[in-house]
Structures are given as structure tokens and as C-alpha cells.
Symmetry: D2
Subunit: 341 residues, 4 copies
Amino acid sequence: MMIVMKEGASEAEIAAVVKRVEAVGAHAHISQGELVTVIGAIGDREHVANLGLEGAPGVDHLVPILKPYKLASLEYRRGERTVVEVDGRKIGGDRFATIAGPCTVESREVMLDSARIVKDAGAQLLRGGAYKPRTSPYSFQGLGEAGLRLLAEAREETGLPIVTELMDVRDMEPVLEVADVVQLGARSMQNYTLLTEVGRAGVPVLLKRGLSATLEELLMAAEYVLKEGNPNVMLCERGIRTYEPSYRFTLDLMAVPVLRELTHLPIIVDPSHAAGRRSLVEPLSLAAAAAGADGVIVEVHPCPEEAVCDGPQALRAEQFADYLRKLEAAAELAGKTLAAV
Amino acid sequence: MMIVMKEGASEAEIAAVVKRVEAVGAHAHISQGELVTVIGAIGDREHVANLGLEGAPGVDHLVPILKPYKLASLEYRRGERTVVEVDGRKIGGDRFATIAGPCTVESREVMLDSARIVKDAGAQLLRGGAYKPRTSPYSFQGLGEAGLRLLAEAREETGLPIVTELMDVRDMEPVLEVADVVQLGARSMQNYTLLTEVGRAGVPVLLKRGLSATLEELLMAAEYVLKEGNPNVMLCERGIRTYEPSYRFTLDLMAVPVLRELTHLPIIVDPSHAAGRRSLVEPLSLAAAAAGADGVIVEVHPCPEEAVCDGPQALRAEQFADYLRKLEAAAELAGKTLAAV
Amino acid sequence: MMIVMKEGASEAEIAAVVKRVEAVGAHAHISQGELVTVIGAIGDREHVANLGLEGAPGVDHLVPILKPYKLASLEYRRGERTVVEVDGRKIGGDRFATIAGPCTVESREVMLDSARIVKDAGAQLLRGGAYKPRTSPYSFQGLGEAGLRLLAEAREETGLPIVTELMDVRDMEPVLEVADVVQLGARSMQNYTLLTEVGRAGVPVLLKRGLSATLEELLMAAEYVLKEGNPNVMLCERGIRTYEPSYRFTLDLMAVPVLRELTHLPIIVDPSHAAGRRSLVEPLSLAAAAAGADGVIVEVHPCPEEAVCDGPQALRAEQFADYLRKLEAAAELAGKTLAAV
Amino acid sequence: MMIVMKEGASEAEIAAVVKRVEAVGAHAHISQGELVTVIGAIGDREHVANLGLEGAPGVDHLVPILKPYKLASLEYRRGERTVVEVDGRKIGGDRFATIAGPCTVESREVMLDSARIVKDAGAQLLRGGAYKPRTSPYSFQGLGEAGLRLLAEAREETGLPIVTELMDVRDMEPVLEVADVVQLGARSMQNYTLLTEVGRAGVPVLLKRGLSATLEELLMAAEYVLKEGNPNVMLCERGIRTYEPSYRFTLDLMAVPVLRELTHLPIIVDPSHAAGRRSLVEPLSLAAAAAGADGVIVEVHPCPEEAVCDGPQALRAEQFADYLRKLEAAAELAGKTLAAV
């Protein structure tokens, strides 16, 4: 931590800061500039941060130097990238994975049809929500356990591993029976109860970025899972909130190369929810792959017009195989090959 | 819902949209402009929204007309404002309330000292966190149940009602034993499990705005609580995320008069967390009161320098009574008097 | 400037950075932490910044320590606040000023009526736009020089000093003949041509914050004016762009106390443009005054329903005197009295 | 324009709105819902907008239906895309163009070396700034006319057309003598003086998106140029301002496919300024091309370590040809071929 003193801070104020830094066992290193003095506090970040030196007499502001996450950092793994293996499918490193399926599990027929489309086109994992976080209490909230049973049936028929969302810690048991990958949605990115429990469960996690979460906060959320001994975390960029009114969310594709410099964890992109419209999903998917993403998660539906939820953004069955071929070419540009089964 | 067709949408495309609108029992009302046609879908908002007409052939975009919240709207109560009563203290309407206390419950001595400061200065409710949502898994996470016991002791001594945060649905029982008002933090604003359960419990709720939540989303979150039959919801503006790097969060004081036009629920402002620095708390509190807020929630600490958490933003004991006097004057400008006990 | 090296940066990389820092005449001060090394570059900020050390081998990131503005900083004036005097009216320090008038100069009658309303109610300066920056080329662009003549006439009749906008450097001469204060609008905040020219002209300037300008950028824009020897700069907060769709702009009232800590320049708030609606103008004005603003600039119109531009946000003549009385009370809370003539 | 009335608006209020709509020659079309009434105002958008009906008695809010830009819209050209031709190079339609060069013109040697690198690698146009908009008045402001002469020399030697920025309307003549494409920077996007003058001059324009400009505002700025009879406008996405602190700007690649649906104008992406770091430029460029951009504008420098300005983001000479080959492959994915000379 660097403590930047105000112009004209007195000797006594500087000495007082040094004393408080040293009181928590850190070393204070003084750097005297022409106008301002900077005190480097070398030691445990949390201890120094807890000193609450912001606003202390003579202190202008604090600048953290060390990253607050450890296990999630690229340095922690000395540059080696995490490859998450889900029932034989490898995600991360030089492998690119596609996760696809309907937004929500709505009926047996749609779920099984979707699973066949996903399987036949050659995607690697099947997605579908049994529990749906909805802004409105009057919207359809998902089929719940009945939806989980349909996902299990789809896995049995197609052999595709299942990605599904967990919202309530009390649903852990039934969700874990079915999910090969547990999705934590954007609204749950800082639900520390869920993060800790999926960390303890050891199940692979797809962790979506909160809609105004910084990359550092996303990595800190991952750290909650990693800290419990679960290394199988995939990060997911799904659009952030900006001032632009033309989009539902602004898909932040800069996050892809920047996260690759910060972390060893695989980076998945969800273009469907940001776009909200089918026509944008393909260009954004290709862009994500070309930017170096480790995979995408998209929605596909046998009949988008009749989808219970988010039909307008679902890819059509008949275009899906062609979409996957183009996606493969874009991933190759970034040096990746499709995740083999 | 208004469905705006593209320029040059064909008769067949218009007819198809009308057919789908009518299929869910809504009435389609066509308005033919010089360049574009607009179809008004009059009927159940959810049904029409679920049609997923975005991206349908010929459709340009959709414009919702009705507000998605009902119970939270000012119209629902025909303009009468909700007054939440907490152990005799009235919040809302023409009463202004101050909720104060330390950020976190850290020790018996600090908690009781803080309670006495709050009581002596004349504030109405006592705040203190036993469970703390922390960005870092390495930060202090609160005293938990031991903290709840200290809050109970502080209430017993001072008679002040307690405001404390609930983070995990599994802690409902112990928290409800102590809390006169349950706080749902910004990260939990869209935790539908918690919203529903505190709705069922009927306890007064202080619902903080998520850090990139729109006012509509905040009101929809309140709707989750109201829908369960719990009318005692207070909204809390605590700073939003913007591009400005000089602040921790940007306190959105426009929310105060705008929410007053949208809802009957009381509006509380938390200036401490956005500011992060003591020197900003007073001007922002006065501004909140002058803008028409129904109360503020602030941090005060007997010795901010030794606070475990957020000391730099805590008001000092010796300035607190003077702060309250100015606050009262500002609230009067907006036509409010202090909440009597 | 602090240069934060990557974890594991080599001795050679550190030495290379030190060498480049010293090559521009700065002193390099090395602070060796447990994980990372930080190099303090003590010397001319511009020289060090121009080194372009971001991305150099072993460099993680750079942290500027010194503020980039000098003349605008509170330290430069050793804490003494600038009081701008306009034809006898003092703005800044412990004086609060109200600038009012129609959005745009639209006709002789409206302009003179507005001026009388402003004068009679007791506001200090008269505003009105002859040149209007408009998002659409199809919107009314202002009366131009004819508008300037009407402003001159209004001043002659009422004695009120005139605040009016300059958009095009080629209009300097006619605008300066009429304007007592030249307004630079939000879109022109980084128009360096205009900043430099009004700096040279020495005329008082009302400098509006760009709609996504940081406070630092606003102060740097002021620095362009100050650097030319013109000390008469007033800063104006008028709403920033955020994700919230309920407002035209989000009035950033935190800017008021934060700017007071950074600069000696007076701070004016424009609540009308952010609000877009009359009903919000009064609560936001009171909040601005209570937060410590040095003045407000608001729109008032004899007949808002017939205004050419922004009528819905204009205060009505009949409410204006009452509004000013409340505003005076709010300014007093923050220790200010109305600017006397 | 749709005028949405409040719940419970009276017959008289509705009639008053209808009357005002009809008074400006528009037709009022009433749509009576269960809860609210919506009045469609069919006629000239500007006239209806100027009514200022926001805040009128009984009016809740207004919803514009027609897009405010005309000449820039895809519909105006009935879906045919504009191809801007610059000295034989075609930009737009199915052609992809690369504009490259140093950030600023700093010396004869660097300028000519850069031009040769750009030419040899096969890029189509040469960029370089003689006038530099700088946040700080203490930063290097560009070589001015001397810089323009060096650009002219580089063109003469390599035959590459020149893209350079215009900041001050008083520099029109010298800039137009040299520039094949005039760049209007992000800070000038709403400088209506410049937009109008380059519109009149008829020269091809590269119009950068302001850093918090909506796509609609960008298109309205283009409309200012188009309205003067100059059809040669290229739009440029260069990063927007968001809350994320890890980036200089957030490159908004969603703008690419969304703008393609809104306008016929070519869309260029500048990844260098948002990134600020060389390592991000390639992945972002590939992503831009894969998303369907019509070109990129990037910085390349013979010796980035010695660049006067923005060296850390400049591509290196030795990597530039390889970069262009990958870019070509990414553009092909989106159906484009390189702009031939």
C-alpha cells in the first residue's frame, strides 16, 4: 500500500502514519518528493488496509499496490492456464468450448429437442435454467425440480454435460445431483453464501460477472470459490451496464484479453443476454473467439417464437451448425481448437 | 406495450404481430404513421412481454408503457405515503429519521459506547452489522451471532430499535430475534430468496439499491417483498457506480425527488459508503435532507481511528449532536420534522 | 509518478526503468516490497509521463502521484477561495449567487419579461442563449447576433449582468461585446481553442462539466483558461451520464464538496438540464445549496408552455421568488449568504 | 412521438394535449388502455418535440418513435452501404481498410520511417496528428503546420493517402491542403462548427465517437456533415467511458453490428487508444474485424520506446506485417476482403 500525503503534510503527521503502519507489523518506507511524501507500507495488505488511513491527518489518498486476489492470479500458477475438465470435455488452455441450449427448461419436448440440436451440431455442453432469477416477481420463475429432472433426462439421452444455475443455497442438493457445471448468475456474483458452498462442493463453476462488477471484483468472487479448495472456476463475461441505451447490456470484449493477463482461469463469453437479439449473436460470438475467449455460452431453441423466455435472442436450430463452423474458424485465429469430447 | 414496426414493414408482418398479440388475449390497436406503424398491445403486460416480439419480422423495437411494479407505485396507494413504524418511531410521510451506529459490531465496549452516542444525540435507530458482505474472502466477515447478542444488549440498554443486515437465508431466525429492521445490502438487492423470505416474515426492511440498479429495478425488488404481504419497506440510496474515479460511489441524490414521484415508500439515504470520507458526510446528508429524503443512515464511532471497518467515513462522537441539529434544519426546508420517539 | 513493477520483474528490468527515469532528469527512488518493487520517479510530471513506461518490460502499471493541474488547485492559492466579481456581484467564498433566465433568447418580449422576473425576484445574473448547441441539425440553433442584441437590451433595462454561451471562436467579438460572463457548454469543455481564447480575453467564464468528464478533466480544462492569465473561472456541474434511464442526466452533487477540497474556484450547479422537469428543479437546487455550492444557474420563463426550447424544465414566474427564498435558507445552512449587488 | 399519459389523467388533460399536438399540424391518435392513455402524435418530429409536453398536466412521459437522423439511416439508402473512396482505396461495403501510422507527427525521420512501414506491410492509409487535443495544457500540442508539411512529404514518397485531425476551424485551409481524410476526434464529435465546415468542404471525414456519446448522437453528428451535402463520412468507435478502472476506455465492439443495422456509413474501429497497451491491440483488432467492422485505425511506430506520445500502444514495425495478415483472415470471416489500392 502506498500512502500519499498531502502537499504540506507536517513531519508530525508523517511520523504518525509511520507509527500506525509499523503498529500492524508492516514496514514503512518513506519516499520524499519535491511536493509530496509517499509512504510505502510493506506487509500484509489486509492489515494495512484495515488501518483506515484514508482521511487521517495529512493523508491525501491511498494507492493499493498488490492485487487483492492471490489464487486467481496468473502469477500464482506461474503462467500455467487452468484447464477445467467436465466429463471429458476440456475448457481452457488451447481448447475452445461451446455451451448451448434453451434459456429456460420449459417442457420435456423442447428440452430434448434442444439437446439433440446442440449434440448434433457438435457443441460440448448443454445449458438450461430450472431456477430463473427474474427482475419481476410476476414473471415465470422456472420449473424448479421438475426442470432439473428434464435436464437429467437430456443428459442421459445425449451424453452432454449439464450447465444449470443455482440461486438458493437450500437448492444445493438437487442442483448438484444434476449439474456438471453450476452456474452462478450475474446477480449472484457477490452472493458469498453461494460462492462458499459451491467452493466446498468442488463442482465446476461458471461464474458470471455482475453487471457492474470490475474485473478485480470478479476475480475476488472467484477467490471465494478457490479458497475453499475448488480450482474449477470459469469466468463469464455477459455484458456490463453502461450509458448506451441501444443495448440491453454492453458486451465487454476487452475483458477477454485483459483477464488473460490477470488470471489463469478460463474465460467464457455469453453474447446472447447482452444482445437480446439473434442477429447480433453471431458477430459477437466470432469477435469473442477472435479476442481469445476460451468458449461461449449461447442460447439455441427449436422454435424461438414459442420460447417461454428470451426467444428473440435464441439461435435457430437450422443455423446452429453453420454458426459453430464459423466460430471454430474464429477460435483458430486466436490459436485454439474445439474442445474434443 | 407499444410495438414499433420498421419503416417499410409489410402488411403481412403487421398482421402477424397483431395475430400474436391477440393470441395471448390482448387487444391490438394500430396507429399508422407516415413512416412507421405502431401497434399498441393492450392487456396483461407479462403475457405480451413473453411473446418475445423483439426481432420478429418487421419489428423494430418494443416500448413498455405500463410500469412493471404495482404495489410499490404511488398510484397504488392513490398518493398516500407509507409511514413505517418501528417501535414507536415513524419513518416516512412528514417525519425524518436518523439511523446511526458503527459500520460493524466489533466489541461490547464499542457497541455500547456507540449506542449511547446515538441515543444521547437524539437519533432514532441504531445500526450495526453482525454479518458483513466483504469483497475479499480475506477481510473480516463480522462477529456473526456474537455480534447479534451485542446488538440485543445495546437495545436493552438504550431502548433504540436495531437495524442490522441479513445475508444468508440460513441466518433468518437469529437475525429476526434481534433486528427491528432487517437491512438487505446492495449486493443482495436482487437476492430473490432473501426478498421473499423477509417479505413472508413481515419485518420492516431497509432495502439498499444495488450499485448499478435502476430505480425501476429497485422498485421491482421492493415488489418482491410487498407481494408477500409485507408493506414495511424502506428504500435506501447508497451510491451508484459511475465512471468518476474520485469517489467510491456516486451518491445519486436525484433518486430522492424522482422516487418520490414514483413510489409511496420512504426513501433513506446512506451518504457514508459513497463518500468513504468523514468530511463529505455532512454536506451530503444536508443535501439529502434538503432534497426531500425521509431519513439518513450514517456511521458514527467512538474512536474512528480504531474502527475495524470503514473508520475513515465514521462521524466522530463529539460532532454528532451538532450534525443532527443541522440535519434537522435541512429536513425542515423540505417540510419534514424529526421522527419523535 | 510511481512505477509498479510486475511480480518477478528482473534486476535488469528494474535497472532499465531507473535508467530511463534518470535520463529525463528525474530521480528514481526504489522501494522493494516482498512481492513487487515500486520505483518512485521524482521530477517533472510531464517528462516522466512522456517516457511511456506503460508496457515496458517488467512494468505492471503506473500511478501518478502529483495532481496534473496546478493553478486550479486549492494548494496553489494556499486555501484561499477565488471570488469572481461580475459587475459588483461577488460569486464564491461565502457568497451564493443565482443565475436565471430563459434557456434560449427567443423573442424581445420573452427576453425582457424574463429579465424583469429575474430582477424582481432578486437573482443576481441573467442567462440566455443566443447560440445553442443542438444534437440535431434540424433543431432551432438560436437567434445568433439578433439574440445578442436582445440580451444587451435586457441588461440595459434591468442592470443585470449577462451570462451567454460561446460556441464558435469566430463569434468571439460579438459575444464579448454583450457577455459579462461567457458560458462554455458541456460539449465545449474540451474545446481547447475556445478555452485558450477566453483565457486570453480575460472575461469571466462559466465552464460546464462535460457529460462524462472527470473532476480532474474539468480542472484541467479550467487550467487552460487560468494558464492564459484569466483567473475568473467558475465551474459548473450540470449532470453526468450514467446507466440510469429515468433521468436526462444524473446531477452529481457529490462533485460539490469534493471539488471544494480540490480547488479554490467557485462551483455553480445547473439542476435544470439534468432534471428536464420543473418539479425536480427546486429539491435539486436546495440540495446543491445545502451541499455547499456557490450558486445555481436555472431556467425561468414567463410562459414555459410556449418556450421554444426546454420549457418543461423552466421555473414559472409566479413561483420564482418563493424558490429564491428557500434557496437562500439552504445556502445559509452551508454558511453562505446571497451575493449582494 | 408517443405521449404516455399518467394513470388517472383526466379527459380535459387528454384533450389539452391533443389540442397542442394538432396546433403544430400533427395528427393525434388516441390509444386508450386499461390503465393509461397513449396519444400518438403523427407529424414533424421536431415540431412535436418542441411542444415541450414533458411535464404538462397529466403527461407521464414521451416516447420518440421516429429516429432523429435521416440521411445517416440505412433506410435512407434503402439498405445500400456507402463506400468511401479515398484516392482509389475503397472503404465500406465488402472492403476492409487499415489506417496506420504514428500517434503524432514528431520528426521527419520518424514520419517517413513510419510511412514506409505502413506502405510495405500493405496498409491502405497513413495516419498522423499534426494538431493534438491534449487534456493538459502542459502536454505537447503537436507540430502544427510543420507537421502537416511532413505528412505531405510522406504522402509524396509512399503514395499513401493521409488521415489527420482538424481541431480548430481556423486551421481548415492548411489541413485541407494535406488531408485526404479529415479526422474529427472524440472531443470534437459535437463541435458543430467543425462538423458543418467539413460538411461544406466535401472532404472525406473520419468521425470519432465521443467518449460518452450514444450511437444516436454519433449518427446525429454525422447528420450535420451529411446535411451539408458531404456523403463521405466514416464512423469510428474508439472506446467509451465506463466504471471499469482496468482500461483507459472500454472498446465497444457491440457498436459494430448494431451500427450496421442502423446506418449505411462505414464503421472503423480504433483499438489503440482504448487499450493503451500494445498487447491488447491485436486481439481487439481481430475481434473488431470478426464483428464486421469496415476497417481499423491503429498506431505503429519505428521505435515505440522513443515515441513522443502514446508509445506503449504503438505496434512495432517488425510485427506489423504479421498483424495485417491475421487481420485479413478475421475480416474474411465477416465476409470482407482487403481494400485494394
